[in-house]
Each structure stands twice: as C-alpha cells, then as structure tokens.
C-alpha cells in the first residue's frame, strides 16, 4: 500500500511543521493549510486520505471547516486537534461526525499510531 496523504490544518505554523516531521516519519505524505478557507480548498484539490484539523483558529474555525467538509464528504476521516479538551467542543464536533480528538499536549507518536490503525480499519471497511 502506498503512502497515505494527510492534510494538517493549524494556524500555528511552528506546530504544523513539527507535526509534519512526525507524520513523515510515520510514512505519511503531508499537505498543510494555515486557515479554514485554504483547508476547504485543499480537501477538494488534494483529496487527502485524512485530515488533522485544529479547532481554534482565527477566521473560519475548525468546527466550521468540519461542517463544510461534511457537506461534501461524510466519510473522510477528520481528527480534531485541540490544545485542551472542552466537553462542549467535543460534543459539537461529535455532532458533525468527527473521527477523533487529539490533545496537542499528549503523546503524539501514540496518537498517530492510533490514527494509522483507525485508517487501516476505515479502508478495510470501504473495500
């Protein structure tokens, strides 16, 4: 199986670049977007296998991006990135059918391993 393409969306460019290194080390192709509009456009253009999406961004926030993605594609795995877990936000994102949550301060190697497993399962179900 070839490399999976993941779109990472975060307004915090430094975090984005670190996450890119981590994902590439885990055999992902990484595309990045710095804001919501760019993210929506790149989902269409790049057709990623998964999206890692920051919730709190200036302008169009992650929840709005998720809502727009869901209008076009109900299946694309979208994992929400967040600096802290607010129950309200988790609930909202679940309403829009997010695939999971990643706490930015948690062990990202573990989180990405979990995502890889989830994607394998997702693809197996698709076939």
């Amino acid at each position: 199986m070839g490399k999976r393409k993941v779109l990472v969306v975060d307004d915090e460019i430094e975090f984005l670049e670190l996450l890119r290194l981590r994902l590439e080390a885990n055999n992902y192709d990484v595309v990045t977007a710095l804001d919501g509009d760019d993210a929506v456009a790149k989902v269409k253009k790049e057709k990623p296998d998964a999206v890692l999406l920051d919730i709190l961004m200036p302008g169009m926030d992650g929840l709005e991006v998720l809502r727009r993605i869901r209008q076009e594609d109900n299946k694309l795995p979208v994992f929400m990135l967040t600096a802290f877990s607010s129950k309200e936000r988790v609930k909202l994102a679940n309403e829009f059918n997010a695939s999971g949550f990643i706490l930015k301060t948690s062990d990202l190697q573990k989180e990405i391993a979990n995502i890889t497993r989830a994607l394998e399962k997702h693809q197996a179900n698709d076939i």
């Binding site: 670190l18 290194l21 709190l56 802290f84 062990d107 190697q109």
Partner: protein, 370 residues
C-alpha cells in the same frame, strides 16, 4: 376650716394637677419625638441600604413595606409593590432562610439573580412578617464569567506553546531528525517530564478556578462505579509495580449503577490513588467500594507516611503540601485534594480522611447514587 381656705386648697390641688398633666404631656411629646426620630433613623438606613429589603406578611404573601433599593431593583413603586403577590416575583419566598443565586422577576418581566436572606418571623401590628434582604449579584456573576473566560483564554495561550515545546523535545528524543546519545536523551527526558508537569498544573488550576467560581457544570451519566474503579486502578498498575507495592482491591462482584459525571469521578479516584502511591514507600495501596443503599462509599487507603494531626484540617485547602519529599519522583502542586473536595461537593457527597503518622492514610468519599 373657713370656706375660702377650702377654695384655696382646691385651687392648689388643681394647679398641681395641671402642672402634672403639662409635665406628662411634654414627656409624651418627647417620647413621640424620640420615636419619630428613631423611625426616621431606621427609615433612612432602610431606604439607603445597598441591599433591597422587603417586609412581607407570611400569611397573605403581601408586602407590608419595602425600601427604595428594592423598588429600584424591581422597577415597582412602593404602592405597586404593596399590591403584588411575592410569589409573582420569585417562588417559595417565605420558606427560605438563606438562598443563593435565585432568579427574581422585575416589573418588566426581565430577570436578575440575587442572594436572599430572610429573618425569623416578627409580629408587626398583629401580622406575622419576615424581612427579606435581596443582594443583586449581577455584577458578581459578570465578574465570575469574565474570570472564567480569562482563565480559559490564558490556559489556551499557555498550552499552545507548551505543545510545541513538548513535541519539539519528543521529536528529538524519538530520533526523528537524527541519532542522539545517552546524555542528550537523559537531559531531554527531564525537560519533557517537566513540560508534562507544567501541563498538569495548568489543567489543575483551570479546574480549581472553575470549581470555585461555580463554572464547572456536572453532566451526570448512569455508569457502573465498580468498572470505573477497576479502570482507574489499572492505569496505575505500572506505578504500583515500580514502587514494589501491593495492590488490594475490595470490590463487590455485582455492578453498582450511580449517576455521576464520569470525567470528574475518574479524576477524583485518580487523584486519590496517585497520592496513595506517591506517599507510600512500602506495603500496599487498597481501593474499596461499599454499597450503602442510596449511597455509595468508596475509599483509597495506603500504608504510607501518613499525615499528622496538625495537618489534617488543612488537607483539602489549596496548595497545601506536607509530605514533600526532596529528590526524585513526581512533584505535586497541592491542588489534587482541593479538586477532589470541590467535585464531591458538587455531587452532593462528602469526603473525609483518617490518617496516622507513619502508619498510613485512608480517604473515603460518599456519593448519592442518584
């Protein structure tokens, strides 16, 4: 006696009586004036108090009198107030001695929140009345909201750079940019564990400030406390093994369903088990759950260093640390137990501790099942 002498006598007596009458008259006036003055003095205090005050007839639920402040708070004139039923303004008015954060309806239908205090009943003009004092807490609430918002923003702003520092260190530690040596790895591991510590402190501070401002809302769910207990304890298995402690579990076999906020109660159990392990060098850590009809009793005990009698009363206050051991091991902040108490209080439960220096500690909390 001669006739005229008799008359003289009579006149004298009359004069005396007139004098006495005049004296009592002026005394009366004095008393009346004093009363008036006293009434005026109290009226001024009453009207100009910062809190709204009402004198209510318990039976008829009619307002007997009210101060200016409450008229302004509610938007009614005194005459209008005397006509309304207190139940229209806020329910179950006279049954409370003291209540916080009570919604009160104004004349225009809008609502504000008040802390209300009611006196014991007093008899006034044959009527049984209570005096109720209303403190408008709108500003206080606004301040609490702002504080919550501020802390929320600050914690987010702190966590964002923290996540970058942590991931930066982790990447190097995981040797993704290239190999590192033992010494470099050791240094980076120390740095990373302290980033985790900082993240934990931020979380705890956020929790405690929310608990204190009443901003933490519980979301109760029906769940089995036994499996929750097992789950939390199993996440500490490694730490228990590392310290070569024994783990005892005394749990009923059948599940016990309780209605609690799962995240919060998980945190309570974690904080207690974390303490038990951290302050115990040899022996065991034990968790137990007991079914007490409408209640559930959970405890975490250990055979550790214990807490002195002097320190026990301070145990649940913020930033209190008595067993701070120099050297290695995770250092705490002294917030764990105050969060425990805050959460248990929110659930309408109770938490208590028994401890003996050098012997061990047992923390027990009781929760209503519903």
């Amino acid at each position: 006696m001669k006739e005229y002498e008799k008359n003289e006598e009579e006149i004298k007596r009359l004069r005396e009586r007139i004098a006495a009458f005049e004296k009592s008259e002026s005394e009366h006036k004095k008393i009346e004036e004093a009363l008036k003055e006293s009434e005026q003095r109290f009226r001024v205090i009453f009207d100009y108090a910062n809190d709204g005050m009402l004198l209510t007839d318990i039976k008829s639920k009619k307002i007997y009198t009210a101060n200016k402040t409450i008229c302004q708070m509610l938007g009614y004139s005194l005459e209008e107030l005397k006509k309304i039923d207190v139940n229209d303004m806020h329910p179950s008015h006279s049954n409370i001695a003291e209540a916080r954060n009570i919604p009160v309806k104004r004349k225009d239908g809008t609502v504000f929140y008040a802390d209300i205090k009611c006196s014991i009943p007093v008899i006034l003009g044959g009527r049984t009345c209570v005096i109720c004092i209303f403190r408008d807490i709108t500003t206080q609430k606004k301040i609490d909201e702002l504080k919550d918002e501020f802390i929320g923003t600050v914690s987010h702003e702190l966590r964002s750079p923290l996540s970058i520092i942590k991931e930066g260190i982790s990447l190097v530690l995981d040797e993704i940019p290239g190999k590192i040596n033992e010494k470099q790895s050791k240094i980076l591991k120390t740095a990373k564990s302290n980033v985790d510590r900082l993240a934990r402190i931020i979380n705890d501070l956020l929790d405690i400030s929310k608990i204190e401002s009443g901003g933490l809302k519980i979301k109760k769910e029906a769940l089995d406390i036994i499996s929750m207990m097992k789950q939390v304890v199993s996440s500490f298995k490694l730490a228990i093994k590392d310290k070569r402690l024994a783990l005892k579990v005394d749990l009923p076999e059948k599940e016990i369903i309780v209605h609690v906020d799962p995240d919060m109660i998980t945190q309570v159990i974690s904080n207690l088990v974390d303490n038990a392990i951290r302050f115990t060098e040899k022996g065991h850590v034990e968790v137990s759950v007991k079914d007490r009809e409408a209640l559930i009793e959970c405890s975490v005990s250990d055979t550790g260093i214990g807490i002195s009698r002097d320190n026990l009363p301070k145990l649940f206050s913020k930033f209190q640390q008595f067993g701070r051991i120099a050297g290695l091991g995770r250092r705490g902040t002294g917030l764990g137990l105050s969060i425990v108490k805050g959460i248990i209080d929110l659930h309408g439960g109770k938490v208590g501790v028994e401890s003996e220096l050098g012997k061990g500690t047992k923390v027990t909390f009781i929760l209503p099942k519903k």
